[in-house]
């Protein structure tokens, strides 16, 4: 094997190749972790899928990957630079990693004619920089790392001297050749380990963090990493040198030289790795949805121009808001469906009435209004709102209606009450607190009694005795009860006379309405239960028919008017008052009297069967019963009211009759003691029964 002088490439070719590949692999490792765009573009994860056996993948590995048993990702920057540099291994390979700002050129690499790469950001460039480069040169570029890969050949290599001495050439060469594989293996193994360390080390330095961030962000950042490769080492300034930390890998001795790898790096980067993107400045969003400056306010302004919102709405909603009213000045022109529906439901009975009648209140209803002024106002405003368009101006001065409306818009609308029907709202509000005392002096006892039942004086309503009697038979449903109560109230108000059955102000007493005890319909109910308001509980046809009859009666408008006016009042009553009135009505329900009358008749008949002398009295009793029934038949209105007195009187009458009979029997007892005793037994039994009753 021909020997070469030590000052030249004395390394065996294989060693030289190892050295050359060592340079390349080192450059590849460094640039792979410092050149973000180049490595990211060519980064292929699939190429490095971990497999249980690397031998299977070794065949697919590229030849360069096999060097040092380290298969790396593609890095064009490293490959290009190495191809230009590979001509000389005696010159060091200096790799400067730069932290570059956006204003500067992203790649400062330039080539020299000698194949060496030039610096672009230094005043000591060998080649004049173009004006463009001068413009791009900024002071923001900073060398954060410097890698120096160097092969130092021994001028006087002990191995070389021994090998290439004149007299021992043959023996040295032979020994050299025999030791080359060993040396190669050693050198190669050591370079493998060194490159392993380099691969781990490059990822521990701060610059790798910037590299990762630049790779992961994938966006144009003002900061970037660049590199420059030079064949010489430009010394740092004192300041730079003071900042740098050095780390040197243990050099690898080769037969004719030594491979060394050193790095100078900045231990800490001053927030240069921070995200260059400008963060969103915190600012208050004034025009957020739902805020005071957004549309909801404007909406209320338009509503205000249209008219104030229902007063009672504001009152009811006031508690749900703690804010002031002032900031709500506008609102959406269209109210929420739920809100409008709730209002419609709440004021439904009044919606049916023409707007112009809303404020027309009969004198009879004035007292009612006086008693329930607040509720009336609420209802009035509600009616006004509902009757008129949402944008129409309201006649009544209202308070903070925009606020109420806004409140309903911006907050969940609490639907005040479920749909009860036409009469429900009417009745509930029409029911005042229960009061057994009549509220209208000067009324007849019957009317007073009626009023006692009707706790609240409501607007007059049409009622007929037959309607009252009707209710006695069939079990009143809840809606019917409410209707009955309201009708009774209205009737009481309309009673200006002692007459029962004739209701001033209402001319709905239709002769078509038959008066019969068997009827279970309340005429009051019929009068009210017209098509203008619905009773959810009264689905009977009779009611409908009676309503129709009411419509056909005279003064339909008057009826409507009265109904409206009366309707206002019932709306004012509370549910508690309605319950109280209902209780009163139940107590005076006509069917009870009818049943009692039947029972009386049966008892009388019973007595008749066992005691003939009492037949006369039975007849008398029957006559009494008939008499008692007759006024009820004539006046269904007062039937319930007169039931109690007639029952008591009748009972007293019966008692008197029995007493007379007893005296008569006692007189005859002496002559016919035995027969009287037998006769008395049924009488006693009847009397016992009588007493029990």
């Amino acid at each position: 094997m021909a020997s070469s002088p030590c000052n030249s490439y004395s390394e065996p070719p294989i060693i030289e190749q190892v050295i050359t590949e060592f340079f390349a692999k080192s450059l590849h490792i460094i640039l792979e972790s410092r050149s973000p765009y180049a490595s990211s573009r060519n980064h292929s994860v699939d190429h490095f899928i971990s497999s249980p056996s690397s031998s299977s993948s070794s065949s697919s590995s590229r030849p360069r990957d096999k060097w040092f048993n380290l298969a790396l990702r593609d890095c064009p920057a490293a490959l290009e630079n190495f191809d230009l540099w590979r001509k000389s291994i005696l010159e060091p390979l200096v790799i400067d990693v730069l932290l570059v700002h956006r204003s500067s050129a992203s790649n400062a690499t330039r080539l020299s004619p000698g194949g060496c790469l030039l610096r672009n950001f230094s005043g000591k460039d060998r080649f004049p920089m173009s004006p463009r480069m001068e413009e791009l040169e900024t002071k923001s570029d900073k060398t954060i790392e410097r890698w120096v890969i160097q092969y130092e050949s021994r001028k006087e290599s002990c191995f070389g001297r021994e090998v290439y001495s004149g007299s021992r050439k043959s023996t040295a060469a032979s020994s050299h050749s025999s030791e080359i594989p060993t040396l190669y293996k050693k050198t190669y193994k050591r370079t493998i380990v060194m490159l392993r360390s380099l691969y781990v080390f490059v990822k521990l330095l701060p610059a790798y963090k910037i590299f990762q961030e630049l790779n992961s962000s994938g966006r144009i950042c003002p900061l970037s990493l660049s590199h420059r490769i030079t064949p010489f080492v430009e010394p740092f300034t004192r300041a730079e040198d003071a900042e740098m930390n050095q780390f040197s890998f243990v050099p690898i001795d080769t037969p004719c030289g030594r491979l060394s790898l050193t790095v100078s790096y900045l231990p800490a980067l001053e927030d240069k790795s921070s995200e260059p993107s400008t963060p969103l400045s915190t600012q208050f969003i004034m025009d957020y949805v739902g805020g005071p400056t957004t549309d909801p306010l404007k909406m209320f302004q338009s509503v205000r121009s249209a008219g104030p919102l229902p007063h009672f709405v504001s009152i009811t909603r006031q508690h749900s808001w703690s804010n002031d009213h002032g900031f709500m000045r506008s609102g959406s022109p269209s109210p929420s469906p739920t809100y409008s529906d709730s209002q419609a439901m709440h004021c439904d009975p009044n919606v049916r009435f023409p707007p112009h009648h809303l404020h027309d209140q009969s004198p009879s209803a004035s007292s009612v209004l006086h008693n329930a002024s607040v509720a009336h106002k609420k209802n009035t405003s509600c009616e006004d709102y509902l009757s008129s368009s949402p944008f129409s101006p309201m006649s009544s001065p209202s308070a903070p209606t925009p606020n109420a409306f806004l409140r309903s818009e911006s907050a969940p609308v609490n639907i005040p009450s479920p749909r009860r029907g036409r009469n429900s709202g009417l009745l509930n509000q029409a029911l005042p607190p229960s009061s057994p005392k009549p509220q209208r002096p000067g009324c007849s006892p019957r009317t007073d009694t009626l009023r006692a039942q009707i706790t609240t004086p409501s607007a007059s309503q049409t009622c007929s005795p037959e309607g009252k009697l009707r209710t006695k038979k069939e079990p009143l449903r809840s809606g019917d009860f409410e209707t009955v109560i309201s009708l009774a109230k209205l009737q009481a108000l309309s009673f200006g006379k002692d007459e029962v059955g004739s209701l001033p102000g209402l001319k709905c007493s239709s002769p078509h309405i038959p008066f019969s005890t068997s009827s279970s319909r309340l005429s009051l109910l019929d009068e009210f239960d017209d098509s203008e308001f619905a009773c959810p509980f009264a689905d009977d046809e009779d009611i409908t028919e009676s309503c129709n009859r009411v419509k056909l009666s005279e003064g339909k408008d008057q009826i409507n008017e009265n109904s409206e006016s009366r309707g206002l009042v019932p709306v004012q009553r509370s549910p508690d008052a309605a319950v109280g009135a209902l209780v009163q009505m139940l107590k005076t329900a006509p069917p009870l009297r009818q049943d009692l009358s039947k029972s009386v008749r049966s008892s009388q008949v019973f007595r008749g069967d066992f005691w003939n002398p009492r037949l006369q009295h039975n007849e008398c009793m029957e006559a009494e019963v008939e008499r008692s029934e007759s006024p009820a038949s004539n006046s269904g209105i007062t039937a319930s009211g007169l039931f109690k007195p007639r029952t008591t009187a009748d009972a007293l009458e019966e008692l008197r009759i029995y007493k007379e009979m007893k005296e008569w029997l006692l007189k005859k007892g002496g002559s016919k003691s035995l027969g009287d005793s037998h006769k008395d037994k049924p009488a006693c039994g009847g009397g016992g029964l009588e007493e029990k009753s």
């Binding site: 190429h47 056996s53 690397s54 193994k189 380990v193 521990l204």
Partner: protein, 219 residues
């Protein structure tokens, strides 16, 4: 060939950090000793801002995780104790049977890495510190945790540098590569025994001594 031993710097870790720390250290060491064809896999620590390198060998990963689990199990039974995890590289040599009870093969350990860990439970350990400042215990705990985590990260980084230095300084003791496997040399990960904390450890040492020959016998 002597057995090179490297005692790594002690790390104070929490139970939740054991896995991450051990994975980082063990994989880094093995990567330096995996002289076969390797396609490195960069792995970011879960708890630290450190990227370490794995060989990409699934079997290695499985073994390491298995040992880590054993160690964690032991730590749970022996909390707040200092412990070691040993990574050993050896050679297998056929031993001449001098007597009938001897093993035919022996392990020649040529490198051992001792990972020193001090597992600390901050809940029990931190209460004593926070007892005097009960005003904002949550904030203090967070601050302490973050500072402790940062110091641990720095210490872990130093441990990795320590490994690199050791690997670079000691190269002559590495035996020759005789196979084309990724992991060129057999290795062994030893964790404290769960049976007996102290005695079990010594049992493993004795076992290793029986398996290995005298260092002077190795060439």
């Amino acid at each position: 060939m002597n057995c090179e031993t490297c005692q790594l710097k002690e790390l104070v870790v929490e139970p939740l950090e054991i896995r991450d720390v051990l994975r980082c250290i063990l994989h880094t060491i093995v990567f330096h000793r995996a002289l076969g064809l390797v396609r490195p896999k960069d792995v970011d620590c879960e708890l630290f801002d450190i990227t370490y390198v794995q060989c990409g060998d699934a079997e290695l990963e499985r073994k390491i995780d298995e040992k880590i689990n054993l160690f964690i199990g032991w730590v749970e039974k022996h909390p707040n104790k200092k412990s070691q995890v040993c990574l050993s590289f050896y050679e297998v040599r056929n031993k001449q049977a001098t007597w009938m009870f001897s093993n035919k093969t022996e392990r020649l350990y040529w490198e051992q890495w001792y990972i020193n860990l001090h597992v600390v439970n901050t809940k029990t350990h931190g209460k004593s510190h926070n007892s005097k400042a009960p005003i904002n215990p949550g904030d203090n705990a967070l601050e302490e945790s973050s500072s402790r985590r940062a110091s641990l990260e720095s210490a872990l980084r130093e441990v990795l540098f320590q490994i690199i230095k050791f690997v670079n300084e000691k190269k002559d003791h590495i035996p020759s590569v005789t196979n084309s496997e990724v992991i060129s040399f057999p290795y062994e990960i030893t964790t404290p025994s769960s049976s007996d904390s102290s005695f079990g450890w010594h049992t493993d040492v004795l076992k290793r001594m029986l398996q290995t020959g005298h260092p002077s016998m190795l060439s």
